[in-house]
């Protein structure tokens, strides 16, 4: 029996059953996108730009088309031209023209790896050979790779038509948007401050690093309908974006979700899917495309590198009185960085009366960014949480005490204005403060301990669920949310809890777009919250129908039947034996026919998430290699449906955050060519780099959600870079202001500090 958040006891929620898809995954039977094959299937390959910025003067495919085995070649000329404006496509706001231009370059290539043409052939080798025979004449242009350079007057312009409101309709620009958030009077606030810290931070572009590369199989039928098998976080977004890019009706596309080998936000858009359908339409055969790792790194959406200036002021007694931030994020080749989210999260953990935040979305000659776990928030927290740490030190306060004095709580206005409702920022700080880890003493040379907090909004959006009751008393839970991180098991547990059946009698099924109602992406930490809510309501629909059937058997009215602890019984049932779903199921045919429970939801009442992370580490004084010694993360998780998978999200997000902190970055040369296109050189942490991570789940239930669920997947990636930076400071005395804090960068900073200390000592002598 698990503890509940609302006074009731749960039998299944809060336990840790084995995941339903586990056997398929450990035996290799689970089907991923690249596993799909069909009779007569062709193999697609994509020709990619060798330049970071160039005009496409001509494309000649004659030689490639003449190669035996080549069945079709497409370029942007084969795609419809779309309106150059923001449109709603599924749950996304997206410029469809830019999306189309990212799938196949039109007129210019804008980054190393930008797709120029695609080929379908009878084998992958022939398709590769055909790519080599396509002749593209380029006029190479100077690239602009960094956000600071792209904002300078006279910088090379990526998109001829890009304008912003401030510079006006006549001014070409790389600055796609400026946002501003303001509360109080920041200048007056700084006047009240006894201590003011102002720092500038740089963070590198990083990739989500999902293990499974992108893939798609497209099958276009002669009747105008198409089917796509692919690895995606959202089948419905693939459907709507593919339909828009190809100019066909959404209803004529069915998207079948494969198992997914990670996404972390990077699989919420399309790259290969429209090409697979287009090539299939031209050839009449199924067409499969799969990316290599190099293609994933060169041409799919990482998250932004950034420049952030953060200035905060506090009184002597440790009260924050003003915060001013300036953020500029790399959007990649097309507008749409997560700088807005960065701006809205950067000061949100704290109750600061005077704030001013300016944010700029800037295009550069890098791949178009995509979502990555709490998009934009980790960059921002690196800046603000480092400055907060420095202010705590100035005030002579323990870093947790300082944060507790200023922590956002219920009713604190967010950066964007509306006040927080029920949140658990303080609770995560208290959990770390009271942890054995924090109370323990860290000893030894070159070691340091750092703490940081982070905030993420979470989202709700739309979900659908269907539950089928079978005659043997088992049930199928049909959902449209692709399973990342064990969401199938969580949905099954919710249904089992409501229906009072064994968890092994519930079969969760992830359905294609023709077989379930609209369901938005598995992302935004929304799946357990919104799809879980839909499953809960669908199960309640089943309960309502079970009562009707039992009432028939007992010759009662439905309202005279009660359902409690998984048993149906008459409200005034003298001598009537209570009945379970399993006992009633065989009698459905004779009481009215099958029972199907349904629910759809456009979820409201989303509960935002906070996390606080504590890191111990040791820095090698000669090489500056950082060894993480111990990590504890405390997170407000609302109600943990399957605690093991919640812990997994907390640990996974923390691991990614540590990789971002210490090693991960894109290396471009002076021509804008990516030089680390494999995982040997793009250095993500492995199990050898990290200790076992301790987790503290703080359960502050989300009001309004029937189970108190709060999204958990994203916020744990927010605090780690700053927590690591703060720990490095305590180990070395060096405040790192740039990510990643890799050995070369950290060693340089340590040597600079040593040189400064030596000069001071010499001067003193």
């Amino acid at each position: 029996m698990a503890a509940s958040t609302n006074g009731t006891e749960y039998k299944i929620i809060g336990t840790r059953p084995i995941r339903h898809d586990g056997v398929d995954k450990v035996t290799g039977r689970a089907k991923y996108g690249a596993d799909y094959t069909f009779p007569g299937m062709l193999f697609g390959k994509v020709l990619r730009s060798p330049h970071a910025h160039a005009v496409i003067k001509s494309i000649n495919t004659d030689k490639a088309r003449a190669l035996p085995g080549v069945k079709a070649i497409v370029t942007s000329a084969d795609l419809p031209k779309l309106a150059d404006k923001m449109e709603a496509a599924g749950e996304q706001a997206i410029n469809l023209n830019h999306l189309s231009m990212n799938i196949l370059a039109r007129g210019k290539v804008l980054y190393d790896g930008h797709a120029v043409a695609a080929v379908a052939a009878t084998s992958g080798h022939i398709a590769d050979e055909a790519l080599r025979l396509i002749e593209v004449e380029y006029e190479v242009l100077p690239p602009v790779m960094l956000v600071d350079d792209a904002m300078k007057p006279g910088a090379p312009i990526l998109l001829d038509s890009l304008r912003n409101k401030e510079d006006g309709p006549d001014q070409q620009t790389n600055v796609a948007a400026h946002m501003q958030f303001k509360r109080g009077d920041v200048n007056e606030g700084f006047k009240q401050a006894d201590y003011i810290i102002e720092r500038e931070f740089k963070t590198a572009m990083v990739h989500q690093g999902y293990i499974e590369p992108h893939n798609a199989v497209g099958i276009y039928n002669a009747d105008g309908h198409a089917t796509i098998y692919c690895s995606t976080q959202g089948t419905f977004v693939v459907r709507s974006l593919t339909a828009a890019v190809l100019g066909i009706s959404e209803g004529k596309i069915k998207v079948v979700p494969a198992e997914i080998g990670g996404g972390f936000g990077g699989k919420t858009t399309v790259y290969l899917e429209p090409l697979s359908v287009l090539l299939s339409k031209l050839t009449g055969a199924p067409v499969k495309l799969t990316m290599t790792r190099a293609e994933v790194l060169r041409a799919t959406g990482p998250t932004s590198g950034s420049t952030i200036r953060c200035k905060m002021g506090a009184t002597k007694d440790g009260m924050l009185v003003a915060g001013q931030c300036w953020l500029a994020y790399e959007a990649g080749a097309f507008p749409g960085s997560p700088v807005g989210a960065g701006a809205m999260t950067i000061l949100s953990p704290y109750n600061i009366p005077n704030i001013l935040v300016d944010a700029y979305d800037v295009v550069v000659n890098r791949p178009k960014t995509a979502a990555y776990r709490a998009p934009g928030a980790s960059n921002a927290a690196m800046a603000s949480e480092t400055v907060v740490d420095e202010l705590a030190e100035k005030c002579g306060l323990d870093p947790i005490e300082f944060r507790l004095k200023n922590a956002s709580h219920d009713g604190t206005p967010q950066t964007v204005g509306p006040p927080f409702k029920k949140i658990g920022m303080i609770e995560t700080l208290e959990a770390i403060k009271n942890s054995e880890h924090y109370k323990s003493k860290l000893t030894g040379p070159n070691r340091g301990r750092g703490v940081a907090s982070g905030f993420w909004f979470n989202v709700g959006l739309q979900s659908s669920a269907t539950i089928n009751v079978h005659t043997d008393g088992t049930v199928s839970v049909v959902i449209g949310s692709v399973d990342i991180g064990g969401t199938r098991a969580a949905q099954a547990m919710i249904a089992a809890e409501v229906l009072g059946v064994d968890i092994n009698d519930v079969r969760p099924v992830v359905a294609d777009t023709d077989s379930i109602g609209h369901t938005d992406v598995t992302g935004g930490s929304r799946t357990c919250f919104a799809t879980g809510w839909a499953v809960y309501e669908a199960a309640q629909d089943i309960v309502r129908q079970l009562k009707e059937r039992a009432a028939k058997l007992w010759e009662k009215k439905p309202e005279e039947v009660v359902f409690a602890n998984g048993m149906l019984s008459p409200a005034s049932g003298n001598g009537v034996k209570p009945m379970s779903l399993k006992e009633l199921a065989p009698r459905l045919a004779r009481t009215g026919g099958p029972i199907v429970g349904r629910a759809t939801i456009n979820a409201r009442g989303v509960g935002p998430a906070f996390a606080t992370t504590l890191v111990d580490l040791e820095v090698d004084p000669d090489t500056a290699k950082v060894q993480i010694l111990r990590v504890t993360v405390a997170q407000d998780v609302g109600k943990a449906i399957h605690p093991a998978y919640v812990e997994g999200q907390m640990q996974g997000g923390t691991a990614q955050g540590i990789g971002w902190a210490l090693n991960e970055e894109y290396f471009y040369d002076d021509k804008g060519i990516l030089r680390n296109t494999g995982l040997l050189d793009y250095r993500m942490p492995t199990c050898l780099d990290l200790p076992a991570m301790e987790t503290i789940m703080v359960e502050v239930p989300t009001p309004g959600h029937p189970l108190g669920v709060r999204g958990v997947g994203e916020v744990p990636i927010v605090p780690p870079p700053a927590a690591v930076a703060n720990a490095i400071y305590r180990a070395t005395g060096v405040r790192m202001l740039e990510l990643p804090m890799s050995p070369p960068r950290l060693l340089k900073a340590m040597l600079k500090k040593r040189a400064a200390s030596d000069s001071q000592a010499a001067a003193a002598d």
Partner: protein
């Protein structure tokens, strides 16, 4: 003013200039910082309306031109989200606005 198409559906037979809420309710719109140049620097503006579309229409009556920053083709711009009384709206221009509600227009957020 492109909000007119949706508003005229709610109030058939009226042009956008004539749109008035059926029942006078006064909500407060907190103006996004960069749009305050259109409201004479005012951060908070009292408006009439029973839903977000009507609120924007009344805001635009008071400060002509502001609605084109918020509304496109009769709907809230895809890049904007609306918060009413601290709750993220799901109904777009039809999102109900209560008496004394506080309405914020903020950048839409996705997630990973």
């Amino acid at each position: 003013m492109r909000v007119s198409s949706r508003i005229s559906t709610i109030n058939p037979g009226r042009t956008s200039a004539e749109v008035r809420p059926l029942v006078l309710q006064m909500a407060t719109v907190v103006i996004p910082a960069l749009l305050r140049k259109l409201t004479d620097g005012k951060e908070r503006v009292t408006v009439a309306g029973r839903n977000v579309g009507q609120v924007v229409a009344d805001l635009n009556r008071q400060f002509p031109g502001i609605s084109e920053n918020l509304i496109e083709d009769g709907e809230i711009k895809p890049s904007i989200a609306v918060s009413v009384d601290g709750e993220m709206g799901t109904g777009g221009v039809l999102e109900p606005v209560g008496e004394s509600s506080e309405v914020f227009f903020i950048p839409a957020i996705g997630g990973g």
